[in-house]
């Protein structure tokens, strides 16, 4: 009973806090550019507005057009629930849960890509082709990062893997995971969430035809995914799980905030890469994670 209650509370926490992050990023971008920018809570307003709107469906769309985003959202929320939260640990954890996390993110990708391809639009085809192709390299980097964490901690349970964090390879891992975060969440320099030129987009191109509640679900899922990666990155670098409760919680929040601000700063200072350069950057991320793995291997079990 208490476990169920905790699961519900945590889920609520994830779902409610997530839309803050894009707001913070936008605030940072505005601040760097010397503008006032939209309010931090802008995404909440957008979501509420979209939730009340009616839906325009493409004449070609099958029920999968709506089911895809829903399943992607469930997958992301499920993946978030698997993550331990610093000193509070994880509510659902078992040996090998880290693989479930990775494959749930893949399921979310499948759901969005499928829904995008429902409409038969070339733009959406382009977007999902890019999404699933770049994911190949991002996935290699991510699984190498996981491997290095598990080598360092001698475990494949998220909770015990993340408690000692990455140790000596932390800097390398932070670089690699941050790049994966940018790629997986479609931020600059991989994708530009603000652009209005469909030819150059990835994520935004995939959701061109979505509207109303399904669009709200997609945007909210993307925000939760960003928060998930921010938490994962923080916990992989800082041993928040091993700290005393108050310090751990503070460190976790500070870490997530730092990652978010970092995304905003990167977005303000860099331009989007040409598409043919994207694989190079992702390969760099993979190599960073690979070196982190070698460092962890040399360092022996923690």
């Amino acid at each position: 009973m208490i476990a169920a209650l905790e699961i519900i509370l945590r889920l609520a926490g994830w779902l409610v806090l997530a839309p803050l992050l894009p707001g913070i990023i936008n605030k940072v971008k505005a601040w760097v550019a010397g503008r006032r920018g939209p309010p931090v809570l802008q995404l909440y307003f957008d979501l509420a507005r979209l939730w009340r709107k009616s839906v325009v469906l493409s004449t070609l769309a099958s029920p999968g057009f709506v089911a895809g985003p829903a399943i992607a959202w469930v997958a992301i929320a499920g993946a978030a629930l698997l993550l331990p939260l610093g000193p509070a640990g994880a509510v659902v954890g078992f040996r090998g849960d880290v693989l479930l996390l990775i494959y749930l993110l893949a399921l979310a990708r499948f759901g969005t890509a499928w829904a995008a391809l429902e409409t038969g639009s070339a733009f959406e085809g382009m977007g999902s082709a890019r999404e699933v192709s770049y994911a190949v390299l991002a996935e290699a980097a991510l699984i190498t990062a996981v491997l290095s964490l598990s080598v360092h901690s001698g475990s494949i349970t998220l909770e015990t893997m993340l408690t000692p964090a990455a140790g000596p390879g932390a800097v390398l891992l932070a670089g690699g995971l941050f790049t994966v975060l940018l790629a997986e969440n479609c931020r600059v320099p991989f994708d530009d969430p603000n652009t209005h030129l469909e030819l150059t987009m990835i994520h935004e191109a995939m959701i061109l035809d979505h509207s109303g509640p399904p669009l709200a679900v997609i945007l909210h899922g993307a925000a939760v995914k960003l928060l998930l990666f921010a938490v994962l990155l923080t916990e992989a670098v800082l041993p928040v799980g091993a700290m005393p409760p108050l310090a751990g919680t503070g460190a976790l929040l500070a870490g997530v905030l730092a990652v978010t601000v970092g995304v905003g700063v990167v977005e303000s200072l860099l331009a989007r890469l040409a598409f043919r350069r994207v694989p190079l950057l992702l390969t760099t991320a993979f190599l960073l994670c690979l070196f982190a793995l070698l460092v962890a291997w040399k360092g022996g079990p923690a």
Partner: protein
């Protein structure tokens, strides 16, 4: 009932099917279903704990006594064979009918029974000679099934390639069994682990069985054979036949000593096959070829698991090796389920539209909702995504490999690259099957014929539903299938008998169930919310373009182009481009094809050189008698010179 009588029923049913199949389709179907059910039950009794079944005939056949044995390993594969054998027969009842194929339907039924019977004999034979006979019958019946539609040229070419490759494998197996028989003085097979002198024979077995299993780069025959065969035959070829190669590898790596490098080589071949197989699949425009390459990928994944189990040298009793082997075996079952499902759905599409070219299809979900939904289920399963069965077996392999890494032994150097390759393979599989499903079933129909496609009938849909149910069952209750897997693992290495499922394996089922329920609930809630707020149908937005046409959609080539470009060094895609020129351009053309590189760029040139040398040698043989006499004189002179100068030295 024990296994013996059930197996007798199965054999009798199949034998009667061979005789009756030509003329009486209904009787044949009934016989096949009874026989395969009996086979399934027989396998089930052993897998659920009955002791291994053995039988000796007491009389000789081909100079040897019949010796049949059904133990954990063989019953594991027999269960898969019986299931797909029965379902494929039911599927063909509507798919390959006498009305549509008056010439080949009867032959097809006969050879189907022969194929299932001969594969059963391969699984049961415990005598090298009978194994070879059954193996040969299995290859021959596969050949006749692949070439059922032999009016078509590419079908004949595919059949010939299969036949040639298959016989190269058989040649290796002849050497393998003959060497065992020569060494032990008997054709009898059984556990013979104590004699390290026979370890090198593993390489012969790897060549022979690996060829049948489609291990990279021995897979050259597989894509064209599986793509050109009738779809129910493709299903049993991909679902079961290639598993016979795996059976051989599992069987004889369990019974015979293996060289120390065996595990590393199998694992390396598996990793290469998994990654390159799926890269080739992504490049295909023919959906059956795509599925065939995906089989190469999945056999690679299975080989990774088996290789990891072999890397753990016998004295070392590593828990992770059990997990990897259990994962590999379970993946063999899972692959049998979802790949047969996918080939059945592909057959359904082919039946309705008459084309295997993805870029001529599109929008089929409207006319073929069942096929579309079942293909989608199979696609999610083959991408190893939760909450379906592919994830369960890949999870086992992953956990085995991760445990190998965290144990910090030398095996970690094999496991770490394998894990990274598996991760990339998963992402590529996702791209491949998102492409296949979406281009075939989503969007607008690209040709008129496709717009008037029809859903397949109950005899084709039924087997697909059964397979889908099997996928869901393994996914949601993996623990129920553990005893069977553990039984096979125990038969492979007796020290591993009665292995407990890993504790986390138990939590996988409920987690997957919760996920599935949550997914369905949220999807329905979202649909309801949308309906509640009002739904308007409109044209696809397409950036405001008012007249989108079906030909403007993304195609299979454009979808896969990005990632196949990264694998261009091995895929070697061929492009033909004729751009529109001038003010009044006439015709333009863009063709793209990913060839079977190993076959066309390696095997064909090598074969060409051999043929050239042979042709040059044939010039000596021209039928002119005086020259032949001249050869004889020259030969004699050479011999004489040899004798003379040889004796002088």
């Amino acid at each position: 009932m024990t296994a013996g009588p059930l197996l007798l029923i199965a054999a009798a049913g199949l034998a009667a099917g061979i005789v009756m199949g030509r003329a009486q389709p209904r009787l044949w179907l009934a016989l096949t279903l009874v026989a395969t059910t009996a086979g399934l039950l027989a396998a089930g009794t052993i897998l659920l704990g009955a002791p291994a079944w053995e039988w000796r005939s007491g009389f000789d056949f081909a100079g040897e006594e019949f010796h049949l044995r059904l133990d954990g390993v063989s019953s594991f594969f027999l269960a898969l064979l019986s299931l797909i054998g029965g379902l494929g027969a039911a599927y063909s009842h509507e798919y390959w009918t006498d009305e549509r194929y008056p010439k080949s339907a009867g032959r097809g039924r006969m050879w189907w029974s022969a194929l299932v019977l001969s594969m059963g004999m391969v699984l049961l034979s415990s005598n090298g000679l009978h194994f070879l006979i059954a193996w040969e019958l299995f290859a021959v019946s596969s050949y006749f099934l692949i070439t059922l539609d032999r009016q078509r040229r590419d079908v004949r070419a595919a059949g010939w390639l299969f036949f040639a490759a298959s016989h190269f494998g058989t040649l290796c197996l002849f050497a393998f069994f003959a060497a065992i028989a020569a060494h032990h003085g008997t054709w009898e097979l059984g556990p013979m682990r104590d004699d390290p002198a026979t370890a090198w024979l593993f390489w012969l077995a790897l060549a022979g069985f690996g060829l049948k299993a489609g291990l990279f780069p021995l897979h050259i025959w597989l894509p064209s054979a599986h793509a050109n065969a009738p779809s129910h035959v493709s299903a049993i070829l991909s679902g079961v036949s290639i598993k016979m190669g795996l059976y051989g590898l599992v069987r004889f790596s369990g019974w015979l000593p293996v060289p120390a490098a065996a595990g590393w080589v199998v694992l390396g071949l598996g990793a290469a096959g998994a990654l390159l197989g799926i890269a080739f699949a992504l490049g295909q425009n023919d959906y059956k070829r795509l599925l065939a390459y995906s089989s190469v990928e999945n056999m690679g994944i299975i080989a990774i698991g088996l290789g990891a189990a072999l890397v753990a040298a016998p004295p070392e009793d590593a828990g992770w090796a059990r997990l990897a082997l259990a994962g590999a075996l379970l993946h063999a079952w899972n692959h049998g389920l979802f790949k047969s499902l996918l080939f059945f759905s592909a057959g359904s599409v082919l039946h309705a539209t008459g084309t295997r070219e993805m870029s001529r299809l599109g929008g089929l979900w409207r006319t073929m909702p069942w096929t579309a939904a079942l293909f989608l289920l199979g696609a999610v399963a083959v991408c190893a995504l939760p909450p379906l069965n592919g994830f369960v077996s890949e999870w086992l392999i992953y956990v085995g490999l991760f445990d190998a890494v965290t144990s910090h032994g030398s095996a970690a150097w094999a496991a770490m690259p394998a894990i990274i390759v598996l991760g990339m393979t998963g992402a590529l599989a996702l791209a491949t099957f998102a492409k296949a499903g979406a281009i075939i079933f989503l969007g607008a129909p690209r040709t008129r014929r496709v717009a008037h496609a029809h859903e397949s009938g109950p005899w084709m849909r039924g087997p697909m539903l059964v397979l889908a149910a099997g996928c869901v069952a393994v996914a949601l209750a993996p623990l129920a299938f553990w005893p069977a897997v553990a039984r096979a693992v125990g038969a492979w290495r007796p020290a591993w008998e009665a292995s407990e499922p890993p504790a986390a394996f138990a939590s996988l089922g409920p987690v997957q169930l919760t996920l599935a329920l949550a997914g369905v609930t949220v999807a329905m809630a979202l649909w309801e919310r949308g309906r509640h707020r009002g739904v308007r149908r409109a044209l696809t937005w397409d950036c405001g373009y008012a007249l989108p046409s079906a030909r403007m959609q993304y195609t299979s080539g454009s979808f896969g182009g990005l990632a196949t470009g990264w694998f261009g060094w091995i895929l070697q895609p061929e492009r033909t481009l004729r751009r529109p020129r001038g003010l009044f351009p006439r015709e333009a053309l863009a063709l793209q094809r990913v060839p079977e590189t190993v076959l066309e760029r390696v095997m064909t040139p090598v074969g060409g050189v051999i043929l050239q040398v042979s042709a040059a040698a044939r010039r000596l043989q021209h039928g002119r008698l005086q020259f032949y006499i001249f050869y004889v004189v020259v030969g004699l002179a050479a011999l004489a010179a040899l004798v003379l100068f040889g004796s002088m030295r």
